[in-house]
Symmetry: C2
Subunit: 256 residues, 2 copies
């Protein structure tokens, strides 16, 4: 809608790929160097890009700080966190919390497995939307029309032989998930990893987030993991209850 801002913002994902110099930015934006320079300067003033010693630009620290604040403002995260920790203490596996937003599903919290794991913190990373158990739950709650349209738009990468292969299969899977009220991912993303997930609902019953427990099948078989389902669902329900009963904005001001 606003050309100038549009161009400026296009620089960010570009720099996310890696540092770039003025010429490269100008070329990718298809604008004159001087234009690119002025846009970069404005971004720089706001701390969103940083000019490293070799004069190339990369994303700046303020961006990271902003994102941090953005996450802390998600009250679902704050409410859910202690529950996730408790669940992790009970079962020992990795616990994830995810939300859906604009065609993306994003992990917004994670408690690491207590087994030796090297999985890097993927908080903030978009998840594999066609296979992840949490993604299925979040998408299954969309209105049918939207669900169908979205399913058609998606790519269906075959991470493994058990990945959701195409749109019709995905629509069917979502239908099933919607009815049963929980979801799994049995080796659909990484061959040896299984997940069980349950939805977290707001006061109006709509799914606002989803949580999952993941474990490699060298630790527990898929069947064993499924025995945790009641526990996962109870946890999710507890979070739902707490989330529904609260004012969404005020943090800890007026309890009266």
């Amino acid at each position: 809608m606003s050309q100038t801002v549009d161009r400026a913002l296009s620089i960010l994902p570009l720099l996310a790929e890696g540092p770039a110099d003025l010429g490269q930015v100008a070329e990718r934006l298809d604008v004159h160097k001087s234009t690119a320079l002025r846009l970069l300067r404005t971004l720089h003033e706001h701390g969103l890009v940083y000019r490293q010693s070799d004069q190339r630009y990369r994303l700046g620290a303020r961006l990271i700080a902003l994102a941090q604040e953005a996450m802390e403002n998600l009250d679902i995260r704050e409410i859910a966190h202690p529950h996730l920790v408790r669940l992790n203490e009970q079962c020992g596996h990795t616990v994830h919390l995810a939300v859906y937003e604009e065609n993306e599903v994003l992990y917004i919290d994670k408690v690491e497995s207590r087994y030796p794991v090297r999985m890097y913190s993927r908080i903030g990373k978009p998840v594999a939307i066609t296979v992840a158990a949490v993604a299925k739950l979040l998408l299954a709650d969309l209105p049918e029309g939207e669900r169908r349209v979205l399913a058609d738009k998606l790519e269906y990468p075959m991470y493994t032989a058990r990945s959701t292969p195409n749109a019709p299969a995905f629509v069917r899977e979502l239908e099933k998930v919607r009815e049963q009220g929980w979801a799994t991912d049995l080796g659909g993303h990484e061959e040896s990893i299984n997940c069980v997930a349950a939805p977290i609902r707001g006061a109006d019953g709509r799914v606002v987030a989803a949580m999952s427990v993941s474990a490699p099948n060298v630790v527990v078989t898929a069947d064993e993991l499924l025995t945790l389902l009641p526990l996962v669902r109870r946890t999710a329900d507890a979070i739902s209850g707490e989330y529904s009963g609260r004012t969404p904005v005020t943090p800890t001001n007026d309890p009266a």
Copy 2:
């Protein structure tokens, strides 16, 4: 430099404080509602802001994803991480990694204490620049002029009785840190927490990052913590060595 972009970007920190509706944004920006609307729309198209169900705007998921990529592009982080983990295994305390950028010091990695701790992940949060041990190291490496100017510009909040009280004291402290090559924070930020920190240097000898070990004095006294200093310094030096000897851009392409 660019008015439109400037205004648009000003919306981001504003929304970081919490969700706001169109009117509030327009007022804070001091522009007409329609102008604010169009800016927000552009931000929305890029996924940087999200319109929640009550029509208010908040920061969007793409911002979080971008920040995530930004952090993963910091190669110092990638190199340092395994060292931080190892240090944590050896001493059991919380380990931080921080960088300086444009008048801010930012934690970019953290390994949690193995003692029961509830400190929330502060990665991405700007640190208390006048007291944190890592901040002292990073600022101490600036050219003297810059150091002085910066010290004058800073605020000196008295988090505790031991916080750095004012600019002259800070300049003196930086001088000391610069000479000795390491830094501490003994209850300057939180009464009961002590830190020891060491610098990580690039090939040219300049400080590119700093790392610290923190522990509450209910677990170890400040003196005991100081006995870890050689270990911390060795770790920092190991990271420095690895960082200096590597091509800064290429991840794992041509080892030949």
